[in-house]
């Protein structure tokens, strides 16, 4: 715990970073400044052992074989962690990036599309689901369209899948054997009740749910110094606003 004031984005970065410890290669997709910052923070602490790919970056993107190289890297086991989100996420960790309401393809709400999720969710060992908005609109009993399924039947090639879920309210683990999320901690200033009220699916939780540790002074110093500079290359506006001065 720290007495230093911090922003919500700083908290989320500090929640994600420890989940990446020990990874050799972490990649973050487009429009992912918080996962990107968490990856850069963990790389800083890895003493040169961790590689980070920030899509959209020039400095932190080593690909020389075109846009498809990310998927080849993932398919050959050279990517340990990727981040996915979803317009809807259900309790079996199915994610929907396509649309909600009405009947596909003429959904009432149309999102951009599934991007690489239908592949990366299968082959990347540790997928971290990240969605800031924690509401029943997002966390539904059952997604309206499966862009990528949380689990697969036995016999289907599936070395990868969801392992964690991070939101503005809480951190969950995902248990693929039981096909259920497990609440691990609730962020400072929020409660288990608030999480229950805003989640449309059942999940497991311990009798006493810990509070998510606030970022410590060293973490905040790193974020506000090195990491702010590094992430600014790809996300200049985020770098200006996400961190306390």
């Amino acid at each position: 715990m720290s007495d230093i004031a911090y922003t919500t984005k700083e908290l989320l970065i500090s929640v994600i970073a420890p989940l990446l410890a020990g990874c050799r290669h972490v990649a973050c997709g487009a429009s992912s400044p918080i996962p990107g910052s968490a990856a850069l923070l963990t790389r800083m602490r890895s003493h040169g052992q961790m590689r980070v790919t920030v899509l959209g970056s020039q400095k932190n993107n080593f690909f020389t074989n075109g846009n498809g190289e990310l998927f080849d890297v993932a398919g050959t086991g050279r990517l340990d962690t990727f981040f996915l989100g979803g317009g809807q996420i259900d309790g079996q960790a199915n994610i929907n990036l396509v649309g909600a309401g009405g009947t596909y393809p003429r959904n009432d709400v149309r999102w951009p599309g599934s991007f690489g999720s239908a592949y990366l969710y299968f082959v990347v060992p540790k997928v971290i689901l990240f969605r800031e908005e924690h509401t029943r609109r997002v966390f539904v009993p059952k997604v309206d369209f499966i862009s990528a399924p949380g689990v697969s039947e036995p016999g289907i090639y599936r070395p990868g899948g969801p392992r964690h879920l991070v939101t503005n309210l809480a951190l969950f683990d995902f248990d693929p054997a039981r096909v259920r999320f497990v609440l691990k901690s609730v962020h400072p200033g929020h409660s288990v009740e608030e999480v229950l009220d805003n989640t449309g699916f059942d999940f497991d939780r311990p009798d006493v749910v810990p509070e998510t540790p606030a970022p410590d002074a060293a973490t905040l110093a790193a974020l506000r110094g090195t990491i702010r500079r590094e992430i600014a290359e790809t996300y200049p506006r985020f770098a200006e606003t996400a961190f306390a001065a």
């Binding site: 396509v98 393809p105 149309r110 499966i146 090639y157």
Partner: protein, 276 residues
């Protein structure tokens, strides 16, 4: 001397895209031929089968908004941090275009199959998704080397035309794309390729080992047209950035058809001014 690629004006170039053609286009920022897209809209193209390799933003939204598109095959259409793609979303909801949802690595694998002249390819993942459930043109087959192991089979993606913008061409019509290798794959995979470039340089890139490594040979190209700032208002890496203000306005205003018409006028006016 080897045959050179044909140099053309923007208007001549887009005349090679007939109504109903299938076209592959790259990701926003990776070399979108936006000036050519405007010329295509000006010539009133209809019924295009747009394939985004693997996703798009402004280019797809403009073509859809202008009524050029019958169907789109895409892993995603979005303006990223700026917001959703208004004309795409509207057309999908109203059912005025056919949308074939796909996933990025499927597109790349299908382009590579076409590049090799193979009839199909296979890909891990996808099983159990509603993408697969809605793609009767995909199949599930057995891995012949591991009984019971299912893989998704995808047909080769041989578009009529690949269309993109690149930093430069040489006098022979070879086009330099640097590390944007997906553009090379698109050119290999399509029946023919139309490219706009910032500038045309003397000599041959193929005589320079460093440039050759990032070059598309002229033989794959149906036409090359010079179009300075041809990706504007999108950016071109190493040359110019994206026009933030335009994209911000666009995602707001293009929610209505009238607003879209105004934004399209703004682009057409800028293109006319640049051409004069």
């Amino acid at each position: 001397m080897q045959p050179a690629a044909a140099f053309a004006s923007l208007e001549e170039l887009v005349r090679q895209i007939p109504d109903g053609a299938s076209i592959t286009v790259p990701v926003d920022g990776a070399g979108v031929a936006l000036a050519a897209t405007l010329a295509l809209i000006r010539r009133g193209a209809r019924g295009l089968n747009l394939i985004t390799a693997p996703n798009s933003g402004l280019q797809a939204d403009l073509l859809i908004g202008a009524g050029c598109v019958a169907a789109i095959e895409t892993a995603g259409v979005t303006f990223g941090e700026y917001g959703g793609a208004p004309r795409f979303v509207d057309a999908v909801r109203r059912g005025t275009i056919t949308v074939k949802d796909t996933t990025c690595p499927a597109v790349f694998a299908q382009l590579q199959a076409a590049e090799k002249g193979q009839p199909f390819t296979t890909l891990r993942g996808i099983l159990g998704t509603d993408l697969l459930a809605n793609r009767p043109d995909w199949a599930v087959i057995d891995n012949p080397f591991l009984p019971g192991d299912k893989v998704v089979a995808l047909p080769a993606m041989r578009a009529d035309i690949a269309l993109f913008h690149a930093p430069m061409a040489d006098a022979e019509g070879n086009v330099w794309i640097g590390r944007r290798r997906e553009l090379l794959t698109m050119a290999h995979a399509a029946k023919t390729t139309l490219v706009t470039v910032e500038e045309v340089r003397d000599g041959s890139f193929l005589d320079d080992e460093q440039l050759a490594a990032g070059t598309i040979p002229a033989m794959y190209l149906g036409a090359v047209a010079e179009a300075k700032r041809g990706a504007t208002p999108l950016g071109l890496a190493g040359r110019y950035g994206v026009d933030d203000g335009f994209l911000r306005d666009y995602v707001e205003l293009a929610r209505s058809e009238a607003g879209f018409a105004r934004m399209l006028d703004r682009l057409m006016g800028a293109a006319r001014a640049a051409a004069e």
